[in-house]
Amino acid sequence: MTNISLEAIDGTRAQPYPGAPDNWKRFFTFSTDHKVIGIQYIITSFFFFLVGGLLSMIMRGELISPETDLVDRTVYNALFTMHGSIMLFLWTFPVLVGLSNYLVPLMIGARDMAFPRLNAVSFWLIPVVGVLMIASFLVPGGPSQSGWWAYPPVSLQNPTGNLINGQVLWILAVAISGVSSIMGGVNFVTTIFKMRAPGMTWFRTPAFVWSVLAAQLIQLYGLPALTAGAVMLLLDLTVGTSFFAPERGGNPVLYQHFFWFYSHPAVYVMVLPVFGVFSEVLPVHARKPLFGYRVIAVSSVLITGISSLVWVHHMFASATPSWMRILFMVSSMLVGVPTGIKVFGWVATIWGGKIRLTTPMLFALGGIVNFVFAGVTGIMLASVPIDIHVNNTYFVVGHFHYVIYGTIVFGIYAAFYHWFSKITGRLYYEGLGKVHFVLTFLGTLLTFLPMHPAGLMGMPRRVASYDPEFAYWNVVASLGGFLLGISTLPFILNMVSSWILGEKAGDNPWRAIGLEWLTSSPPSVENFEETPVVIAAPYGYGTQQPLVEANPNPGLIQPSFMIQSPNSEAV
């Protein structure tokens, strides 16, 4: 990437790789550079975030009044199906894969991912998934209307009778997305096991890398179950097999097991990297080491283990035997232990630090508070008697949006702001960032908090119309939803204008400790001039200990010595 030398950060270190494309066109190529792929993932998925968000705002428009008075019921059902599917398969998963793709090799001192071509293939499957999902709006009968969980028999009812219908396209898209993610999982696990820099033992590996490893291990054991379930569903739908179709002797509940065996752990696939982001962002902006780093790192892997044994809590009302309800109640509640360890560790990290309320710090802390709230309602949902009341109500919708929006999207925003200067070489506008945070936090509160009382009162989820008794909370949630839509505008403005016009950032504007901050911003194609040799644990704030040995650029190995304002150029 020769544009580095144009920015004159350090002309001697940023030698372009011969033949490397140096302009925006490289983002439209089959590039094998993990940084290009990471940005491809992030931009593509952000586009779908906006698409999914627009769909949700049409839904909130319908729900602002009790009757069905905006869109037809079939349209509403298609909207919530596609909102969920797009937000999960085309936004949350890929954007986190993109962030991990960009950061993991830099954080572990590797030149690229273990399998760069496989990495590019994983990415280029995502636009295929996107095209299939969007194309399903154009086929007769419209897109799938069976929800993102696609339970049979509803998903097997094919009102148009066509072979090519929205449901078939949906299943194909999900299966392809699964293949892409399995490839990604193999790549990440191999990279993290095999390509850490010399001296980077497990307990010198940053918490973010641990959390990505924990998440990708789930992809490896869980996704085959979902993909197999999707293939069986496809066969039931197209060639009339009878895995799940009850009228032909199939068992529709079996599908739920296949689906949730992966799709509950999938939540941890999404939230674990965000835990990693919190663990990276807090020490930098509080100038203190991550409190209980080893325990926090290991707790990620504990979550991976426990998450494999919790899926039946989605099926407490599905005629599940009592022993299963009780067993999975206990296992689901136990998730609260490793996540509790993390939360307490984060609070202790900022306690007594030298805190700067930068935008990434605000998003990280806001995300943690939202996450604790989501955890509290999550423990309630794990309790069988409470779940039997609120299961399939808006209480659940409120709970998981607090996880996915309140925690995961907040963490993603924190990561965008925190590593923006590393990715682009420029600084974002702090004021716009704070406006973005305030709007997002208020929007989240207004949209998702009212869903809890509505659910406790008994409002079922997935409804296009509802009884007038729920109208009050729905009006508030709809107004909040529109506010959330607006809240993305300062973000987009900030990112686009800062990338083009922003102040030059230097290599390490946060004075952060970490291998990714030792290289140039943006990093050269090969990431590091010389492979770094790690000699210390991460997060050495408050010590004078360098992170790596014998660096050709001694000014950058001792970040604690470098006293400079965040806005000034790197030395």
């Binding site: 509080a286 409190f291 609260g336 560790g345 008697p385 997060y539 704030y541 408050g542």
Partner: protein, 320 residues
């Protein structure tokens, strides 16, 4: 500085304790009236979770806000905070406390579950009964609802009613009187036994005022029991997404005194079966004339149920 922090935080912790208790009390007002014996059990359990949850949520938020207020770096202070990597004692405590908490909450939930004797699949139903008295003695809180369940379980006869869910209507059949209805009438303070059937896809039998929910699975008959304790009209909602007119798939549950209930059964039996009003059929036949945007081909609703009794249309109800 340290003493001030400890004093401030202890003071806040005490305040927080009272606030959590208050929230636990408030939680009873967030849910519909308790119309079944099971409702009270669930609400008591929920109240415990709300109290603890409030304490934990604010117990994390307050130190964060406190740090943000008092541990900020000065504008020109670029030094680092103290190099504290961890504290084994603290880490052991905050691992052990959640373990104890979740095990305690699991136990409380299990006890509630046991007292409710929720019937899902048939095989485990009767295992619960012998344990009931024993658990009741150990129970720390009000056991009236459980007594009500027990009494109702022992007082014959149990009301047997067939429930059939389809796309998109509910039909209730009283086999002893051979009465069918699109409104579920129940006698108060009796143990009710439902046999849940589905004609097509998955449905969910959900009565918020009873705090009870059970998915209905095609090709299976699911036994379901509960005890209504409060006279009134309550909505029954389909809780498991069942396709196009899912949101309209509602019915009323009317809990009556035994005398009124018998009277209603007798009146209904005297009426000849006739087609009931059905929201899904009404909307489906109206087609795209509703003026709403768009519309794709839907699965056709089953024809309106033919029943002895149906309430005056349209079905649109709220508790009481």
């Amino acid at each position: 500085m340290k003493l001030r922090a400890i004093l401030t935080l202890s003071f806040l912790a005490v305040l927080l304790g009272f606030f959590s208790l208050w929230m636990a009390q408030q939680s009873y007002s967030w849910v519909p009236p308790e119309a079944a014996a099971e409702s009270k059990l669930v609400d008591d359990l929920f109240s415990i979770f709300v109290g603890l949850g409030t304490f934990i949520l604010l117990g994390v938020t307050i130190p964060i806000v406190y740090s943000l207020m008092f541990h900020r770096a000065g504008k020109y202070d670029f030094s680092d905070g103290p190099h504290i990597e961890g504290n084994t004692l603290l880490e052991v405590i905050w691992t052990a406390v959640p373990i104890v908490l979740v095990l305690g909450l699991s136990t409380a939930s299990y006890r509630t579950y046991d007292k409710m004797s929720i019937q899902g699949p048939m095989e485990l139903v009767h295992l619960h009964l012998p344990q009931l008295v024993e658990v009741a003695n150990a129970a720390p809180f009000d056991n009236t609802p459980q007594k009500e369940i027990e009494t109702a379980q022992e007082s014959a006869p149990i009301e047997d009613i067939d429930v059939t869910a389809k796309q998109w209507s509910w039909v209730f059949r009283y086999p002893n009187q051979n009465v069918t209805s699109t409104e579920l009438h129940l006698p108060v303070d009796r143990r009710i036994h439902l046999a849940l059937h589905s004609d097509d896809v998955l449905h969910g039998f959900y009565v918020p005022a009873f705090r009870l929910k059970q998915d209905i699975i095609p090709n299976r008959v699911i036994d379901f029991e509960f005890t209504p304790v409060r006279i009134g009209t309550y909505p029954l909602r389909d809780s498991l997404y069942s396709g196009t007119y899912f949101a309209a798939n509602q019915a009323n549950i009317v809990v009556q005194s035994p005398a009124d209930y018998q009277q209603w059964l007798a009146d209904a039996a005297a009426q000849p079966p006739s087609p009931a009003y059905n929201q899904a059929n009404f909307e489906y036949s109206r087609g795209t004339k509703s003026g709403n945007i768009g519309g794709w081909k839907s699965v056709a609703p089953a024809s309106p149920p033919i029943v002895n009794y149906s309430p005056q249309p349209p079905v649109n109800s709220s508790p009481d």
